[in-house]
Each structure stands twice: as structure tokens, then as C-alpha cells.
């Protein structure tokens, strides 16, 4: 079994490396396919006033004068030495930029997942408790709203309403990390996490509903009810526990999306996470920042997926045995 497990892990790792290389190639090409470069991004229309010599000087400064494949492999090569590049705008290495921004986005994503589960699973249970009833329809309507209201709209609306009515906007106070000021940090991440969590709750709710209905129709549930196990225990221990695998899969996948998808919400709530780092990088055409940040996000995505696989084994002994 160990050999199988090990070969499975080796295969997954090999797949991960191929995936990451693919991401690196695609990001590299896409960035350069967009017209303009760091010079036009910095100078805007003033770039028209550059002399040929000045332009060449700037191209050499930003490393744009080298052939594309040289640019690509020198980037890939430096990644292996732990050098993700340098942000000319931030006067800082991408490693230290990312070391600051990534934990913030991860914290936001975890917070969002917790809120998503807290909203999604009870809704799913409510919905599954009496399929096709009024409460099912109501829960489904909430799920539909979660799916269809765009995050930017919900984010802007919540922010504007809360600020106008309650004069409360912790996000305007300058960002505090969890270590600097935990209370302010949690307040600052609550609204963005709620917006993301609400969007996440919809697929969780739908998955939960389907899984719960399926598990409930199984023999062991009937047996448990027949044995006189209390209803609440049947629902939480027997049904929910067994319905968790698809919910965990869904959540794991969504967690990966959250890392990249938090861009809009980070922008509206002024959260200095990795999403905003990528967006700033794109606006400023800082190739090194965008390429390396996207690669870090992709790496995290792969790791989360691996962890999700491992989590099955904890939740479901059947997977462990298989």
C-alpha cells in the first residue's frame, strides 16, 4: 500500500510541476501580448516624448531589450535560486512583497471559507430537511442570490451602506495585520470575508443539499433512525459527517479560486493582499511582480488541492482504506 501511496504522491507532484510550468508559460506570454510595457505604464502618453536613445536606455533598465526566451529562462532560472524578481515601483523584491501580501490573502480566504461554511451548510441542511417545500425554495433563493450578485456590487453596497448609516468603516483606518492589531484586523477582514463567503455559500449549499439528500436515503440512516438514535444526532453525526466529502472537495476547490478571485474585493476594501499586488503589477506592467505572484497563487492552489485529497482520508475512512 505504501508503494501505491508513494507512487500516487510522486505522480501528483509531477503533475503539479507540469501544471506550474504551464502556468508560467501562459502568464509570461499573455503579459507580453498586451500592448504597452513598463515604460508606457510609467510615463503614459509622455512616453511619446522619449528620444530613441532614452527609450533604449529604459528598455535596458527594465530588461526589455533581451529576446523573449532569454527573458523567460532567466526568470525561471532565478526562481530556483529563490529570486522572484524586483519591483521597481515598490523598490522591493517580489519575495518580500509577497511575504507581506500572501498571508493577508490566505487569512482572508480562510475567513471567507469559515463564513461560507457557516452560511452554506445550515442552508443546505434547511433545504434538504424538506425537499421542494417552502423552506427549500427560500434557502435555494438565498443560494441563487449568492451565485448571481457580483462581488464588486455587494462589496460596494455593503461598504457604502455601513459607512453612511453607522459611520463605520474599519477599512479606511490603514491596514493592520493580525499580529499588529488583531481586533482591528478581524474587523477589517470581516466585510470582505462576508462578501466572499456569501458567494462561496451558494455552491456549498447546493452541494450540501444534494449530498445530504443522497446520504439520508441510505440504509444506515434508516437503521440509525430505526434504532431510536435521536433525530439531531442522526442529522449531525450520521448524515452530515457522511455528506462532508463532496462539501470538502467543493470548499477546497473554491479556496483555490478565492486566492485569485479576491482581487476585486481586496480592491474595494483596500486590503493589501496578493490579488491587489497582481492588479497593481498589471497596471504598472511590472512583469516580474505579475508573473511571480501568479505562480505563487498557482502553487498555493496546487497545495490546497493536495491537502484536500489528504483531508478526505481524515474525514472518510473508506478513502483511507482504498
Amino acid at each position: 500500500m505504501n508503494t501505491i501511496l508513494r507512487s500516487g504522491i510522486v505522480r501528483r507532484l509531477a503533475e503539479a510541476v507540469v501544471t506550474l510550468f504551464g502556468v508560467a508559460v501562459v502568464v509570461f506570454i499573455m503579459l507580453r501580448a498586451i500592448p504597452g510595457n513598463q515604460i508606457t505604464a510609467n510615463l503614459g502618453t509622455e512616453a511619446a516624448a522619449l528620444t530613441e536613445a532614452q527609450r533604449q536606455q529604459l528598455e535596458a533598465y527594465y530588461g526589455l531589450d533581451k529576446p523573449l526566451f532569454v527573458q523567460f529562462f532567466s526568470w525561471i532560472g532565478s526562481i530556483f535560486t529563490g529570486n522572484l524578481g524586483y519591483s521597481a515601483q515598490g523598490h522591493e523584491s517580489v519575495v518580500s512583497l509577497t511575504a507581506r501580501s500572501l498571508p493577508i490573502t490566505v487569512e482572508l480566504a480562510i475567513f471567507a471559507v469559515i463564513l461560507g461554511l457557516l452560511i452554506g451548510i445550515p442552508l443546505g441542511m434547511l433545504s434538504a430537511s424538506r425537499p421542494n417545500s417552502g423552506r427549500d425554495a427560500a434557502a435555494q433563493a438565498v443560494g441563487l442570490a449568492g451565485l448571481s450578485i457580483p462581488a464588486f456590487l455587494l462589496a460596494a453596497a455593503i461598504l457604502a451602506a455601513v459607512a453612511q448609516v453607522f459611520h463605520y468603516n474599519p477599512n479606511g483606518a490603514g491596514f493592520a495585520t493580525l499580529l499588529q492589531d488583531p481586533w482591528l484586523n478581524l474587523q477589517q477582514l470581516f466585510m470582505p470575508a462576508l462578501v466572499l463567503g456569501f458567494g462561496l455559500a451558494a455552491p456549498i449549499m447546493r452541494t450540501a443539499r444534494t449530498a445530504l439528500l443522497e446520504v439520508r436515503s441510505q440504509d444506515f440512516v434508516r437503521t440509525a433512525v430505526g434504532k431510536g438514535v435521536p433525530q439531531r444526532r442522526v442529522q449531525f453525526v450520521h448524515v452530515l459527517r457522511n455528506a462532508l466529502v463532496p462539501i470538502v472537495t467543493m470548499t477546497g476547490l473554491q479556496f483555490g479560486y478565492l486566492l485569485g478571485g479576491a482581487v476585486v474585493v481586496e480592491q474595494v476594501f483596500s486590503i493589501p493582499g496578493i490579488g491587489r499586488q497582481v492588479l497593481n503589477g498589471i497596471n504598472q506592467k511590472e512583469y516580474a511582480v505579475v508573473q511571480s505572484s501568479v505562480l505563487v497563487i498557482a502553487l498555493l492552489f496546487v497545495i490546497v488541492n493536495l491537502l484536500t485529497d489528504l483531508l478526505y482520508r481524515v474525514i472518510d475512512p473508506r478513502v483511507r482504506a482504498a
Binding site: T51, I114, H167, F190, R241, P272
Partner: protein, 516 residues
Amino acid sequence: MRSPRHTSRWAVASGAAVALALVIAGCSAGSPSTSSTAKSGGSLVVGITTDVLSLDPWKATQFQDVYDVLPSIYGTLTEFDKKLAVVPGLAKSWDTSSDGLTVTFHLRTGVKFHSGADFSSADVVSSLQKIKDPTTAAVGAASLANVASVAAPDANTVVLTLSSPDASLFAGLANINTSILSKADSEASIAAKPDGTGPYGFAARTPGQSLTLEANKSYWRGTPGLGSLEFRVIPEQQSIVSAMQAGNIQLAPIDDPVVAKTAQGGGLNVAKTAQLSYHVLQLNARHGDLTDLNVRLAIQCAVDRKEVLDTAALGAGSITGPITSPAYLSDPKDQPCPTADLAKAKKYLAASGKTDVTIDTIVSQGEYSTSVNEAQNLKSQLAKAGITLSLEILDNNTYVARWIAGTFDAAVALNGGNPDPNTMYGRYFTSTGNLNKVAGYATPELDKLFAEGRTTTDVAKRKDIYAQVSKDLTDNAAWVWLFTGYNYTATTKTVAGFTPMANGSLQFLRDTTVTK
């Protein structure tokens, strides 16, 4: 070992507790226990939408750096007053020789850099020479193009020798891109810790988040109004307004009229000032059908500028002619079709002998809020005259790349203005101007007028020259000038003494105070 069940129950319970606590906190109307909310003692936070790109005044090009942030840090030889007239700055006065080729600046005494070093003529000579040096790649080099040499006969006097008289020089020297830096500073030292003669000195910076300045106690005008001044990055203007309503930010420049309206409705003070920058339909008179003057005039006559302003910018602005510099303002009615005249447009088009006129027009999406609406309104108006605007709506980087290359028939644009009309249009509409390819129009007459304008120091004569420039541009429908919008400055009720400026500069933060 704790069983998984216990773990999950514990996790759910604690997650619920945290969420509940936050909901309660979120709903309480009281202010949060933040460490950096508005304080008494003259602390002001300005909301800006993008991080400061460059703290080096010679290299800064981003609008927000040049106009919002850097004027608080650096000093210039001359300055603009509230009405954008040139007034003394680090130079308390100046004389120009009768031939206009020698300008002598008399410097203020007792001025200090934030580092504590004394300001003297040596710093001015070193700064101006470095700005002129092509290897510095300074943005302000063009302002000093006519400066042949810089000398310092004594510690408080600087003499500039010019290659030809230059009336734009004084406005050019008021620009933050020609700031005076200490001769001891280098590009690296400025990037790490800016050192200027301005009202506020560098205190701290968190990249992507904020820049904090503190009062320069030895500022030559006297101690500035604020003890500390923070520029805080909040990417969305609407989010900035929310932060102001919560009392976290006290002042913010806003350019979106819709956001300005919500700010006003939300209990904030909103001041509006007419902008120098102008919205325009640039025509490339060297491309296709637009080489024909009659086609260009047909376009000018078919466009109802008031309608563009009303539909695209909610009427927030005023119709404009070419020159927006307050002292040289063009009369917006002074053009072949002062108001839209469809019959005349059709007549011009018939005179051109062209029936199927299609103009490829580039439009930027996202750089400013009204661009696409302007383009669509123009398209529908010109359709009535039988002219097709074929719109290419592009992301800003692509737009800028195309604009610079001049590969368009027409461009819907928002171009920056300048207090000096020569600086504003010399580079566009002279045959050797570095943006002439983009402007698509130049004539020997215009070259001559701009050359005269540059060397004429008599204000009345200068006004007459630029009135002729303006007339030439509109008579020939070089472009179709549409309107100028407003800059808005939102402030909380606690802010006093701030004066907004037409160029968008926040230089009067030096006089601003905050009460509790």
C-alpha cells in the same frame, strides 16, 4: 487524541463566536478602536487611489505624485498662486535683461532642507544642471530647453543664460518636476528618504498602503498647519468616501462626478474647481478623409458639445475652446460652428465631395470615467450628419500605445492642460513638437505664432498671439474641443484652510488645519 468530531464542533463553535463578535462590532455605531483615526493636534489623512510611484520629483509623471503628494515635500524657484499666476517661491524675485537672454534669480535666505542643510545657489545650479543632463532623464528637461548655462555669482543669486528668450520658463520652473534638491542628494537617497524644502518632510512609508509626512518646523513660510500628513491608498473613490464618512480620512481629491455627488449627499463638504485638462475629439489631419478641411469642419459642426457634456458627464463641466490656461482662456464660441449646426455640417460634407466617411476612433476604457459615454454620444451625433465613427474601445495600456504611435484617425481623449499655453500646445501643434505625430496637424503659420509666443514677455501681446493660435486651431478644426470637467475635493467638516486649484494641485495642504 482529540477526535475529529470534537475538532469540527470546536471549530464551528469558535468560528461562530468570532463571527458573532464581528457582527456586533460591525453593527455598533461607535467608532472602532483604531489607532489611526482622526486625532486632534493637526493630523490629516488624504485618500489617494494609487500608491505613490516616485518620490523623485524629477522622475515623477503620475498625476497623483506630481500634484497631490510631491508639492508638500519639495520647493521650486517659482510657484503658482491660487489663480495659477506665477509668483515667487524659493526665489524671492527675479530680473530679466532687456534682450530677454539673461535671467537673474535672487534667492530667499534662511531656507533649510529637511535634512537640516542650508539652501543656497549651489543647490539651484546643481539641480538645474542635473535636470538638463540627458542621462538624468528628467521629465522637466523640456522646460529648461532654452537654458544655455546656469551660474551662481554668490550664495543667494543664480543667473540663467538663455539661448533665446523664453516666456514659458517661469511657469516651467514652478512645476514640481523642476524642484530644487540639495546638491548632496542622489537619486538613491531621494528614493529612500526624500529631502526637500517643502512644508512637510518624510516620516514613514508602507509600500502600497501609505506615505506619512511630518511638519517641517523650519519651513520658510513658518510652521505649516498640520503636525502630520498621511497619504493613504484606497483604490476605489467610493471606498474613500466611505472612509471619510467613518472619519478615517479627512480630505480626498475626486474626479468622478457621480462619486462627488454621493460624497455631498453623505454629509461631506465638496468643493469643485474647473479643470485645466480638457476633453477633446482629436482628429488626425494627416489620415484618410480627415486630410480634407471640409470633412473636419463637418465634424466640428455636427457635434453638440453641450449634449456630450450633459450625457457623458452629467453636465458637470463647461464647454471649452482650445486654451484652458486661465490667463489665456479661449472663447468656446469662437469657431466656425459656435453651436451644433447640422445643415452646415452637411454642407461642408457635400463640399468635400465624400459620401461614405468612416473615422476609426480610439477610446480608452478605464482611464477616466466618461470616455466611453462621450464616444458613444459623439458617434450617434455624427451619424446624423452621415459620418460614421467606428469606435475601438481599448484598455488603457493599449490606448496609450496606439495614441503614442499616432495610429488612429480620431481619439477621444482627456489631455492635461497647463497654466502656460506654450507648454500646453507647443509640443502638439508645432512641426518639431514631440507630440506632433499624435496631434496630426501643424502649419508654418502656427510654428511662427508659437515661436513668437515663446519669446514674447509682454502679457497683452502674448494673449493676442495665443488668441490667434486658438483661432487657427478651431478655424481649421484641427481637433474638436469638447468640455472641461471639474476637480472635486471632498473634506470632512473638521478641515479648514484648504484651497483647491485648477491644476488639481494639493499644494495648499501647507495652510490646511484640522480641528477636532
